[in-house]
């Protein structure tokens, strides 16, 4: 095979792969702007006749055909829960990651392993006892209940990522800062924190995405508009007798947009975060 042929083949395959990655998402986005009537038509209508914002108006309770599903509250719940649990997980995880990166103590590697193993417990398996315990202490169907759980499941990964980044910061720097007159606390915030910032940022993004996208636990621990998150809310559509495809697509768009923006903003850090933590032992 000639070189030019080979190059063309690679391009063709690449294009196909990119199509498979992009097409499903794009199709969902497109459908969010179509009417259910057009989606259900047989034989299929390929070129949309009239694009509309009605689906978005409906799920936010605007316009004529008001939907029974309070997506606005779900969105707010998701935001409050994700942001709060992310902030908590980053603070707790950073503190732990620093301890692992900078201090020596017996039982360290064992502690690290146990921390990571706690992350492997399947959400659904964890939801069983949490469902009962949270019911007993009144945390079921509250934002606080979900926040606490999300914080805990995000801590191990945050510890892992920040530990890798703190280890990249030479120990000398903190010592130099302390000789320059800093307290250990000042040395951390003025020297080590700024240098590990990109790692901490990527840990935060991962925590946010995990919380924002989580379903298995939330589906059991939330019941009402007080605490239901967007992924759980998406299932409201299927609970009805007929599936409102266009509405679901519109809601899917609402779920994916914040995650998308966030990821593109920090994609560079994300990759560095994942590899640093793991390879550079």
């Amino acid at each position: 095979m000639s070189r030019a042929m080979k190059d063309r083949l690679i391009w063709a395959v690449t294009f196909l792969v990119m199509l498979i990655i992009c097409l499903p998402g794009l199709w969902v986005v497109l459908s969010a702007f179509r009417t259910n009537g057009e989606i259900l038509t047989k034989p299929a209508v390929w070129i949309p006749q009239n694009l509309t914002l009605d689906n978005f108006r409906a799920i936010f309770g605007l316009g004529e055909n008001v939907l029974a599903i309070p997506v606005g509250s779900y969105f707010l719940n998701s935001l409050v829960i994700s942001v709060t649990s992310t902030v908590l997980a980053v603070m707790i995880g950073m503190s732990g990651g620093y301890a692992f990166a900078r201090h020596r103590f017996p039982g360290k590697s064992g502690a690290f392993l146990w921390l990571m193993l706690s992350r492997t417990v399947p959400g659904i398996a964890l939801s069983l006892p949490l469902f009962i315990l949270w019911s007993w202490i009144g945390l079921i169907d509250t934002k606080l209940g979900v926040i606490v759980v999300y914080t805990a499941i995000n801590v191990p990964f945050t510890v892992w990522l920040t530990e890798g980044f703190f280890r990249q910061v030479p120990r000398d720097l903190s010592e130099a800062a302390q000789i320059d007159g800093c307290t250990p606390w000042q040395a951390f915030w003025k020297v080590e924190f700024p240098l590990a910032r990109s790692g901490i940022a990527s840990a935060g993004i991962f925590a946010f995405l995990t919380s924002w996208n989580e379903y298995a636990l939330a589906s059991q621990l939330t019941r009402s508009t007080d605490s239901k998150t967007l992924p759980v809310g998406l299932m409201d559509f299927t609970a009805q007798f007929t599936i409102d495809w266009a509405g679901m697509c519109a809601m899917a768009v609402i779920i994916i947009i914040p995650a998308l923006i966030l990821t593109f903003l920090v994609q560079k850090h994300l990759i560095a975060g994942l590899t640093f933590g793991g390879v550079k032992g």
Binding site: V13, T14, M18, I20, I21, C22, P24, G25, V28, P43, A44, M91, I92, G93, S95, G96, Y98, A99, R102, H103, F105, L115, S118, R119, T120, P122, G123, I124, A125, L126, L128, P129, L130, I132, L133, V148, T151, I153, V155, L209, W212, N213, Y215, A216, Q220, P231, W245, M248, A252, I255, I256, L262, T263, F264, Q267, I271, L274, T275, G278, V279
Partner: protein, 302 residues
């Protein structure tokens, strides 16, 4: 006692720094798991709270072990994970090697590759439920419009087609983790050993087999470790795509636990099953973590 106090005094700072992390995990993971471990030895049903004290010993475990539905779900789960993880790894490797060869538009390609990573599993499930729907799905519509199929294909109803559809969704979602990490490995790879191998007379394939691949192994194992941390995300996909049905044909271990616990309200038995799922997850993570550590030591030679 004094030894413990001495340990606490000598390592006060790291212990203080670690304590919030330990505390929150103790409270939200370990304590509930101890409770569920107890529950798995009781006849606890959600609708009869006092049954929590109804100690039944190993009965739940024996029931689960003697349950054909459990074993078929368990087998299907292991099969599903094996197929999905292997294909994700191979496709991710192929994708990374491909993108690595492309010079024009590489950055755009990398960005697009990250796309599925930020999708909620529940969204991935919904997306493919929509695409594979037998009446209005894009796939069936396309096949029919192109005249490749006269009848709609029941992607989500047939036993093996549904399994394949779910696996496709899972692979679509997770291949990018492998591709991105392996690509990062390819970027970090030193050029000297490759050139040395070429001088020594290696063919392209031999260079890949003996130089590139060993260097990439740690990156592959990181991806595997990260992936195996939440293999149970597949629950979300299955729940929205088929709900484990029809008639339990796509039931995975996790959907079976959910059904037993919440629909049948048999908490005790569901918890017994949950322990099998936890062990499965720990096994996968531990396995790849060990491989990662070994590969990392090996990489030190580079």
């Amino acid at each position: 006692m004094t030894r413990l106090r001495r340990y606490a005094r000598d390592h006060a700072v790291p212990l203080a720094l670690l304590s919030p992390a330990v505390l929150v995990i103790l409270l939200v993971v370990l304590l509930p798991l101890l409770f569920s471990f107890y529950t798995s030895f009781s006849n606890y049903r959600l609708i009869r709270p006092d049954s929590l004290w109804d100690w039944v010993g190993f009965r739940n475990y024996l029931r689960v072990l003697g349950d054909g539905d459990f074993w078929s779900a368990f087998g299907r789960t292991v099969l599903f994970l094996t197929v999905a993880l292997n294909l994700e790894m191979l496709l991710g490797l192929g994708l990374a090697l491909m993108v690595n060869r492309i010079t024009w538009g590489q950055r755009t390609m990398r960005t697009i590759m990250m796309f599925p990573m930020m999708f909620s599993p529940i969204l991935v499930g919904f997306q493919f439920k929509y695409l594979f729907n037998d009446t209005i799905g894009l796939v069936n519509n396309a096949l029919q419009s192109l005249g490749l199929a006269s009848e709609p294909i029941p992607f989500l109803v047939d036993r093996w087609l549904a399994f394949a559809a779910i696996a496709f969704a899972e692979i679509w979602m997770s291949t990018s983790i492998f591709a991105i990490l392996i690509l990062a490995g390819l970027f970090a790879m030193p050029k000297d050993p490759i050139e040395a191998a070429r001088v020594d007379g290696c063919s392209n394939w031999q260079v890949f087999r003996h130089i590139t691949l060993p260097f990439l192994m740690p990156f592959i194992y990181i991806a595997m470790t990260i992936r195996s941390l939440d293999v149970a995300r597949a629950y979300d996909i299955v729940d929205v795509m088929t709900g484990g049905g029809p008639a339990g044909r796509t039931e995975l271990l996790w959907t079976l636990i959910a059904r037993t616990a919440y629909d049948d309200a048999r908490m005790g038995r569901a918890n017994a099953m949950a322990y099998f799922s936890i062990l499965l997850s720990i096994f996968f993570t531990w396995f790849f973590f060990r491989k990662l550590m070994a590969a990392r030591r090996h990489l030190g030679a580079f």
